[in-house]
Subunit: 513 residues, 2 copies
């Protein structure tokens, strides 16, 4: 009844070779392959739709999700590749690829234990993060990991371990000189675009600040998104090094140098879930700072009822955890709490925020005072932490560097060094949200405002977002605009306005007395 095979089979017994074909399918970072249901590989390997498969070229191997095709969109001897798969495999049309079942992902057992409340040690986290970076986790797995770390927050040891593992799996930068400064704002506050200003001030003073920024997670714009409307930010490591050697500073996108490649994957999932857990936040921030070679870092924590950090208590706990975890890696950190009760500046969205930045740097009369103040506070803290400026005098020194034009010149030089300065685009479609009833503005819902800007197309549509026409405490008249919605397409504008019509509590106005 049972038959033995003559010889022990080996995994090379079958020819799994197919010809690579670029299908031009854009899936963000998702590696997908398309194969005919009836091709010899699907049949011999027993592959089914949505299997995880290993795809191997001569010198690369990736894990991809298989979709099967029963029409001649791909041929029997072909494997179609999404753009993400194509670029990771580094192939050309017609190259031979072998496809087989992906190996079982052993670290998923660790992830399941974590869901059920068991803590992870260095080894477990290393295997999970390595598998994530290798593309072995599907969206279902990534989301489970992110959710588990939000439901039962990472403890101190796990946070240190995750931080370490996250920078270990990426590249690590080193710079000439032993003092490298950096800053980071913990998001949640629309328009809080101080970084380009801070870099310009600090670099103008001579400190080295090679700033790598992220794109938006759940916000309408990250620093990299806003900066990209002013200059190229997608620089490779050699280019970044040249910019920093020449200008002492840069403002580039961190993802292009894979400083913390796991974070880039996790960020997409956190964004889809609109989740940001404290431990992952700390590991995300600090792993990038350590990988970027920073030694002295100022962290900005905006606190407000609708900011990411909602109370002084939460801010105090987070500050302490940031300082503690940083200390485990010899990183000097100073945390600055700031007002997070309303947006900063006027613009929300990449190009709109970039214009506020330009206005402050150029010292225009109408430049947003709050953005200028915040930038000076943070730059001042860095000048003091950097060591050669007396405690208590950093802030006014920063203001001086702005006022005398040194920061603006430095910023222009940095933009030139990064590939040339650009003028931020203006949106084709603009529509005001009008005050219905006169009174005083007593509350602004940052989260709904961010959502409004995102529905208008930010950050993917660079010119999209919201331009604020009021601040907390202002007296406003019926018919006057609260803000103006900017969109690149009519569809997106309509979409944002539908949301605004359904959420009239974005701005709260108290009755006139």
């Amino acid at each position: 009844m049972t038959r033995s095979l003559a010889a022990t089979p080996t995994t090379t017994a079958t020819d799994h070779s197919l010809q690579a074909r670029r299908l031009g399918v854009h899936t963000q970072d998702q590696a997908i392959v398309f194969m005919r249901t009836d091709c010899h590989v699907c049949r011999s390997e027993g592959l089914s739709a949505r299997s995880q498969v290993s795809v191997r070229s001569d010198d690369q191997e990736i894990v991809a999700t298989l979709y099967q095709i029963s029409t001649d969109v791909v041929q029997l001897n072909e494997v179609g590749l999404s753009e993400a798969a194509w670029h990771r495999l580094q192939v050309t049309d017609g190259d031979r690829l072998t496809v087989r079942h992906a190996d079982p992902v052993e670290s998923l057992a660790e992830m399941r234990r974590r869901i059920y409340g068991h803590r992870l040690d260095d080894g477990s986290l290393r295997s999970i993060v390595s598998d994530i970076v290798a593309g072995r986790y599907s969206d279902v797995h990534l989301s489970a990991f992110v959710t588990a770390c939000a439901a039962l927050p990472l403890d101190h040891n796990e946070t240190i371990a995750l931080t370490r593992v996250m920078f270990e799996v990426g590249e690590r930068l080193s710079w000439p000189g032993s003092l490298i400064v950096d800053k980071h704002s913990v998001g949640g506050l629309p328009g809080n675009r101080t970084t380009p200003i801070v870099v310009a001030i600090v670099a103008a003073h001579g400190l080295t600040m090679p700033k790598t920024s992220s794109r938006a997670i759940t916000s309408p714009a990250g620093t990299a998104d806003a900066m990209e409307t002013l200059a190229p930010v997608d620089l490779d490591l050699a280019a970044i090094r040249r910019v920093v050697e020449r200008e002492s500073g840069c403002i580039v996108w961190g993802g292009s140098v894979r400083l913390s490649p796991a974070d880039d994957v996790l960020i997409r999932v956190e964004r889809a879930l609109d989740l940001d857990s404290e431990g992952q936040l700390i590991a995300s921030v600090l792993s990038k700072k350590i990988a970027a070679g920073s030694t002295h870092v100022v962290l900005d924590l905006p606190v407000g009822p609708t900011a990411k950090i909602r109370s002084a208590d939460t801010a105090a706990t987070l500050s302490q955890r940031l300082v503690d975890v940083a200390g485990a890696f010899g990183l000097q950190v100073r945390v600055v709490q700031s007002d997070g009760s309303q947006p900063v500046g006027q613009g929300i969205g990449p190009a709109l925020e970039a214009r506020d930045v330009l206005a402050v740097l150029q010292d225009c009369p109408g430049a947003p005072a709050d953005l200028r103040d915040r930038a000076c506070t943070l730059a001042g803290a860095l000048l003091e932490l950097g060591g050669d400026v007396l405690s208590g005098t950093g802030r006014s020194l920063a203001g001086q560097i702005l006022a005398d034009g040194r920061a603006w010149r430095k910023f222009q030089n940095i933009c030139e060094a990064q590939g040339g300065m650009r003028i931020p685009a203006e949106a084709a479609h603009q529509h005001p949200l009008l005050v219905a009833r006169s009174g005083r503005i007593v509350r602004i819902d940052n989260r709904k405002l961010a959502k409004l800007a995102k529905l208008a197309g930010a950050p993917d549509s660079k010119a999209a977002g919201v331009h604020m026409e009021c601040k907390l405490g202002h007296q406003v008249q019926a018919g006057q605009p609260f803000c103006v919605v900017h969109a690149e397409t009519r569809g997106e504008l309509e979409y944002a306005l539908d949301y605004a019509a359904a959420h009239l509590d974005i701005f709260e106005v108290s009755a006139d007395e």
Copy 2:
């Protein structure tokens, strides 16, 4: 600086119409649409890769994931559809479809609250489950929901609410007569395929048992998978009704009548995560029983160190919760705990298990005694719960109905009524796992055995799986087989054997004395 649009825009202002094209892309249940990056809809709507979009035909609307294409795999005026999207929209090639941004999924806020430990009430769960059934949750969202309910288990109220909501969003069956019996085994035990036998016995006795079964979640075979090798199981409601009216019983796949459509979606994600949380398990089991119109249900809980339920304590808690939640819906439940320390019968995998079932029904001399005993115990409990059989006599009555051939005749009649009896396939590739050292078998790892059968191709490859050649306590000689791995393809066989070679502890043998 700000411009107002002349009129308030409406969402019908732009023509978002494209021609439907069936691409024949198989993605399991995932609705995907493919559109050119440069088509007028992507441009005017501001759609980007992996956006969630709403796709509307004349009378259907679905939510789908957008992949963009920059080659002529689809034309500028076309929208390519995956098979899942195609079937849900019920269109034909060339039909006009409109595509726009999907509406924001409001229930995601509830899901996020749940991740952070807030309990869900009826209304919140209803909106989440409705959105899931409508296809508005991506894999990332589904996984977060499943993970949150595993990390912080559903409490009593949530479990009742989830049970209610899950049957409310599906179809609900009603049958002639007020007494409808049913059974369910809480999985985790390979080969535990009692259901077809129990239905045959109970229906032969005259009770009404319209059995709707599921496909495998994390196991190598569900009852529906095994039964499908013996008769069609994918019947619509009218067909099921005809079978039950004629034969008092059926064994069909529950998913085809959408008794609990949310469960079908969640099961795929639980399977990918290899997670099964207690509250979801209860809601999954009971919502299907209630939707199926059952009034009296026997539940089989196998308990063993590597079964789904590992201790008598866990079994007792789960039993109590099942009875309590069932009671809230007026459902009478009797829980039977059984031995879960090793596989039942000899076969593991759809066709192999089906053969064990046939052997028991035909009362063959070599039929697996353990499978027969379990089936009689459960059928006996149902005969007693059904009311006309004295307590304590059900089991022997069940044995009598098997022995005198009534159950076998009934089973053949049910198969005929479901569309005709089939002969289970035999696998082309079979390879034994041999005992290395003589001794006594002291432990069998159900989980690794299930994994071995899955790697061999079960349940998608019907003939694949494992055929057991030993039981706990048996004396085995070196060179004798523990079991035989069955696979339909050489690739799958190799894959399973690689796993077996790396996990020599599937069977534990004590040294000879």
